[in-house]
């Protein structure tokens, strides 16, 4: 009885939080939990199948890759880069995009037009070209990767936020707030932002998934995380050439990405409901 009522109260968001918490803990305590050095290669264990039994090169519950590196350890270490890059990119992109969207929608006029044309240009610019140019100019490192991913991300927030703000600013409660002495800044922060949290969260969760996949694409092109630093995207990309012979190379990182993105989407849905006062 108690168990069923407890199960009924559990929401998708709780599951998502739990999964994300586990992944985050694994990432933080990677040196303690990883069974092996993620960059130690041993060609004797090349493409070794997932097995729980001890072999000549040690245990590898998720198998070994083309250089004989332990996939489980690589995944645990890889989650650090993957999550950190993705979260940073989504937050940076979100802050920039929401700011531009709110300013554009609220100010209107010439400023709106200028900001939206910049957004259009950003949207029209081929991402891969941009990424390659940026990396060529500034070098491939962690920070630049975040900048590149945030650059591809902010336009989506800006567009959606601007649309929401455009219709919100005509609402009577904004006029009421002005009549009560609120400044433009106050209205944006205290009255408009809380009203657009739901779409922002939805965009952010979708973006997080997209950014993780995007990071893998960039890593595949060699402009993302630099080897030997593992990231899930890199592992997925590298495993693709072996997928017919050794499915575990791509399958486990892919599963990891899927699980994290799914968890984040669940959390997003749950947060949106939490922020909705009518629930």
């Amino acid at each position: 009885m108690i168990a069923t009522s407890f199960l009924k109260r559990i929401q998708g968001g709780h599951v998502g939080l739990l999964v994300l918490a586990i992944v985050a803990l694994l990432a933080i305590f990677a040196p303690l939990v990883a069974p092996d050095n993620p960059v130690r290669s041993d060609l004797r264990g090349r493409l070794a199948e997932p097995t729980l039994s001890l072999t000549a090169v040690g245990t590898a519950p998720l198998g070994r890759d083309q250089l004989g590196r332990d996939i489980l350890s690589r995944m645990i270490y890889g989650s650090r880069a993957t999550l950190l890059v993705a979260l940073c990119a989504v937050v940076v992109g979100g802050v920039v995009g929401v700011t531009i969207g709110v300013v554009s929608g609220f100010a209107g006029g010439i400023l709106d037009r200028i900001l939206m044309r910049i957004t259009d240009i950003q949207l029209a610019f081929p991402l891969m070209l941009l990424a390659l140019l940026m990396v060529a100019a500034m070098g491939a490192n962690f920070f630049n990767l975040i900048v590149v991913l945030a650059l591809t991300s902010w336009t989506r927030y800006a567009r959606i936020v601007r649309g929401e703000v455009l219709q919100l600013r005509e609402r009577e409660f904004v006029l009421s707030a002005v009549a009560a002495g609120a400044s433009a800044w106050r209205i944006c922060v205290k009255h408009i932002l809380p009203n657009i949290m739901a779409p922002i969260i939805v965009v952010a969760t979708l973006e997080l998934g997209r950014v993780i996949v995007m990071e893998s694409a960039l890593s595949f092109l060699g402009v993302g995380m630099q080897p030997p630093t593992p990231s899930w995207g890199r592992m997925l990309a590298e495993g693709r050439s072996y997928v017919s012979r050794a499915w575990w190379l791509a399958a486990f990182p892919g599963l990891g990405i899927m699980l994290v993105v799914l968890s984040i989407n669940l959390i997003g849905d749950w947060l949106r409901d939490v922020f909705d006062p009518k629930k």
């Binding site: 009421s176 009560a180 002495g181």
Partner: protein, 343 residues
């Protein structure tokens, strides 16, 4: 009254004109409006849609979007301070503090995602510089004062948990939170049903006495006017056509438009029990893109004289009426109406 011998007006509007830029040119929404509002006076402004009553009220607090709106001339002095040239900061400080305003639609005037407590405390913290605790206490007091039941717990509720009438009370609570000297209510009871309307009017009457505020009440409902006004001001096509003490306007209207408005009211207390059919004012309000040469109401006015079509009448003391009863008309409605009654 503060000073009975030489009362100084709280609000002094002189020759206010507002126009809106549109694709077809300018719409002249308010044209040369001048009046004084005394401290603690309740002024009702009546007129149909597009008469400029709301626009002129919004321009007092400089709430019109400029552009497309443009205040082309005039002066608005509140408590001696000129508002049309005031700085943005001065206006921020005045809104919700010296002048409170309540709008027509209580269902959309509150922010749906903030608790009403937050929305009330926001003005208190902003203008009265209260800390969180003091503001919260005052918010509960205010809610209690506007007769929201269980104010202490309801302060944490969201707007959608209240009825329309309650939301309008909350709006009033926000508007009076900082003890303003003037409350402007723009069609504040129009969206409410009649019993709720009566409660809101009663509430505003009480608050007005408690806080010694002046009130500008904008409405198109003459029934509301009778219940609340000291002074009535009738507007048409962006100008004042008649203005005077409430009894004078109801019993001795001097402008044909005022008479038309009064005739369009149902009279349930007809002494003779005779059923009178409601009379409407024929025609449509004028297109304010081009102001007519004469009295804007002339084309709809059965009493219009030749002069009405050529020369705009100015607002002046009505002949043989109470002092302070002003009318803008070239005709003398008393004579004309009497002649009509005899015929």
């Amino acid at each position: 009254m503060t000073d009975a011998r030489t009362p100084k007006p709280l609000l002094q509007i002189r020759d206010l004109s507002v126009r809106f830029k549109t694709d077809r040119g300018h719409v002249h929404a308010v044209n040369g409006v001048s009046y004084d509002l005394m401290p603690e006076e309740t002024l009702c402004i009546v007129g149909e849609s597009g008469s400029g009553k709301s626009v002129h009220a919004l321009s007092i607090l400089r709430l019109l979007p400029e552009p497309p709106a443009e205040i082309t001339s005039g002066s608005i002095r509140f408590d001696g301070q000129e508002l049309l040239t005031a700085s943005r900061q001065a206006m921020f400080d005045l809104r919700g503090n010296g002048i409170g305003m309540v709008f027509q639609n209580p269902m959309s005037s509150l922010n749906p995602v903030l608790t009403i407590g937050k929305q009330i405390t926001e003005v208190l913290r902003r203008h009265m510089k209260m800390d969180g605790k003091a503001a919260h206490r005052r918010a509960v007091e205010l809610l209690d004062r506007v007769r929201i039941p269980n104010a202490a717990s309801r302060v944490h509720s969201y707007p959608h948990e209240f009825s329309g009438g309650q939301r309008q009370r909350i709006m009033i609570a926000i508007a009076i939170a900082c003890n303003p000297r003037l409350l402007i209510a723009d069609e504040a009871t129009t969206a409410l049903d009649v019993t709720t309307q009566a409660e809101i009017i009663q509430l505003v009457r009480e608050l007005k006495w408690e806080q010694s505020m002046a009130v500008i009440w904008i409405t198109h409902d003459l029934g509301v006017v009778a219940g609340i006004a000291d002074t009535v001001q009738v507007m048409y096509a962006g100008g004042i056509v008649e203005r005077g003490p409430v009894d004078a306007i109801f019993n001795d209207p001097r402008n044909a438009y005022t008479l038309g408005l009064l005739n369009s009211l149902p009279d349930v207390s007809d002494a003779h029990g005779a059923r009178r059919s409601l009379r409407q004012i024929d025609g449509m309000p004028p297109d304010l893109h081009v102001l007519p040469a004469g009295d804007p109401f002339a084309p709809r006015n059965p009493y219009a004289t030749q002069r009405c079509f050529s020369e705009p009448p100015s607002l002046r003391q009505a002949e043989g009426a109470e002092p302070g009863h002003l009318v803008a008309a070239w005709y003398d409605l008393r004579k004309l109406a009497r002649r009509e009654g005899a015929a």
